[in-house]
């Protein structure tokens, strides 16, 4: 268990300067995610063009892992189709929980693999992804209940 593996430079950079941070208006979907264990709270907003994520933004307050994961996520899924984004959600879920999961081709997102050595922190990294998946399954803005990690 190495701290450097958790707080890699990519994670620290995205925590310090989160990308796509802020409000997106108007949005086609807006879902709030909440981790009652630590109080992390974030909102993911999507603008869809057909079945493609045209724009995505997030806001909220969370730890470095939570913030960096959300920032990396928004960069990775912008321009992707709904199905591609959901497939990526599944891969990241595996990456965070399965020691054998490969991080090949994941680019910067591979930095999240360090989190799996810290089981207490997996939910920090996965919260935004669960929130995104929920938003993608929604057509109606504000229609979905908040996502919780518990």
């Amino acid at each position: 268990m190495e701290l450097n593996d958790l707080y890699r430079d990519v994670i620290l950079d995205h925590n310090r300067n989160p990308r796509n941070f802020g409000v997106l208006e108007p949005a086609d979907a807006s879902v709030e995610g909440f981790n009652p264990l630590c109080g992390d709270r974030l909102t993911v907003r999507l603008k869809m063009a057909d079945q493609t994520i045209e724009d995505i933004r997030f806001e909220g307050q969370g730890c470095a892992i939570s913030t960096a994961s959300a920032s990396l996520m928004t960069e990775a899924v912008k321009g992707k189709s709904r199905d591609e984004a959901l497939a990526l959600f599944t891969r990241i879920h595996d990456l965070l929980t399965d020691d054998d999961a490969s991080s090949d081709d994941l680019g910067k997102l591979a930095a999240l693999s360090g989190v799996r050595e810290f089981p207490a922190r997996v939910k920090c990294a996965s919260l935004c992804w669960h929130t995104l998946a929920s938003a993608l399954q929604s057509h109606e803005p504000q229609a979905l209940p908040a996502v919780s990690t518990e």
Binding site: M1, L3, Y7, R16, G39, C63, A64, I65, S66
Partner: protein, 415 residues
């Protein structure tokens, strides 16, 4: 500062006391454990571990039943534990000491058995803004059941309460006043004796949540004058799953049982059941026998050490930690009440509490991070969470130095 503190420490023999707590000798991630999460749960001395072990190996049987030797021995040990706890909190008699699972169950018992049959729509329950969820939610449930209203007394920017403000909220409709003796999230010590007296003068029933106080100060329930006092065993160096509800006998006598079942009855027929006497009326079913015995051993252990010295040492730790952490740039202590128990809640700009918790853990330092089951307190201070170092008498000044160093290291990661 350090020299004065170390001189203080030398008068109180921390090292030999630490040897009574086997877990303190272990390492975490290759570093000596610095256990600074005593507010969540304290560690057990050998005396407790051995009492439980001895019971499990030699005496276990169900209590209050059966004439065989083991059952009689188990009953004697369980009831002896009750007597030790009666002495420890200065209850009048063993009728006033009910074993429960913990503080949470104790408060729920009072809400449902004492308050629910008595409260009507428009009645008020008064609490404070700094309560743990366990002293909020049972009352909210009661409000839903009875139509009563929950009234919340404010705190100030230091996390302090004003006795005058609380007293001014005690109205003709106030039926229950329930507050923490010590705030788990802020460390604030509340002036409970004064508040209880004020409530009593207005005919208001009082409950004190002693979960965080019981390990840090002498508690004399008769001197406090409260109707109920609740605490958990595991914060008092005892096992989990056992706690105490103290209730004044006159009040307990007027309450119906909370749960029905075995052990709480005298006779049962399908026409009518007669209830057992105090305290058994409130102890339905087979209780946590080994837990009670362990908790009895914990208070026996505490009566054998220099408890006044221990409490003074805890205060010295608090002063030292407050001074040390205050020197760290961008660190803000949350909870700066005039009277505090030995814990420090804080936030560090740029380093989220959850990240601090992980980085400190890597150094072998255990602290609590999160909302501490006190979300209204977090809301008040406009923080999502805090980091909290909470001390016991077995902690050292050196551990606080390590805490400070680890916080500086965390800051360097995020700067």
């Amino acid at each position: 500062m350090k020299n004065i503190a170390l001189a203080e420490e030398s008068r109180f023999d921390v090292d030999s006391l630490r040897r009574e707590f086997p877990i303190l000798a272990r390492t975490v991630h290759g570093k000596p454990l610095a256990y600074l999460d005593n507010g969540a749960s304290a560690q057990r001395p050998l005396a407790v571990i051995e009492a439980v072990d001895n019971y499990e190996r030699r005496h276990h049987a169900n209590i209050h039943r059966g004439v065989h030797t083991l059952s009689q021995e188990a009953t004697a040990l369980y009831e002896a534990a009750r007597d030790r706890l009666v002495d420890f909190i200065h209850a009048r008699s063993r009728h006033e000491l009910i074993f429960v699972r913990g503080t949470t169950e104790a408060i729920n018992l009072v809400a449902q058995s004492y308050a629910r049959p008595r409260l009507v729509s428009g009645d008020e329950i008064l609490i404070t803004h700094l309560e743990h969820h366990a002293n909020i939610v049972p009352w909210q449930m009661l409000c839903e059941q009875t139509g009563a209203t929950l009234v919340v007394a404010p705190i100030d920017a230091h996390g302090d309460v004003s006795a005058e403000a609380i007293e001014s909220l005690m109205s003709e409709r106030t039926r229950i006043f329930a507050c923490a003796h010590v705030s788990n999230a802020l460390g604030t010590v509340l002036p409970v004796k004064r508040l209880v007296a004020a409530a009593k003068a207005r005919g208001i029933t009082t409950l004190i949540d002693g979960a965080q106080a019981i390990s840090h100060m002498p508690v004399d329930v008769q001197d406090l004058g409260c109707d109920f006092y609740a605490f958990s065993g595991h914060k008092l160096y005892g096992p989990t799953g056992i706690g105490v509800l103290y209730g004044r006998e006159a009040v307990l006598d007027r309450m119906p049982p909370w749960q029905g079942g075995g052990d709480m009855i005298l006779t049962v027929s399908f026409a009518k059941t007669t209830y057992n006497s105090l305290p058994y009326k409130f102890e339905a079913g087979t209780p946590n026998i080994s837990g009670a015995i362990g908790l009895g051993a914990a208070v026996e252990f505490l009566s054998g050490i220099d408890l006044a010295g221990a409490h003074a040492h805890e205060h010295a730790l608090l002063d030292y930690a407050t001074a040390s952490l205050s020197k760290i740039d961008d660190l803000r202590i949350i909870g700066t009440a005039k009277a505090k128990a030995s814990l420090v809640s804080f936030v560090v700009k740029g380093a989220h509490p959850h990240d601090l918790g992980t980085i400190l853990d890597e150094q072998g330092i255990a602290i609590r991070t999160g909302h501490h089951c006190a979300m209204p307190v977090m809301e008040f201070f406009k923080v999502p969470a805090t980091a909290r170092a909470s001390f016991a008498f077995y902690n050292t000044f050196e551990e606080i130095d390590r805490l400070s160093a680890a916080i500086l290291r965390a800051k360097s990661i995020f700067d």
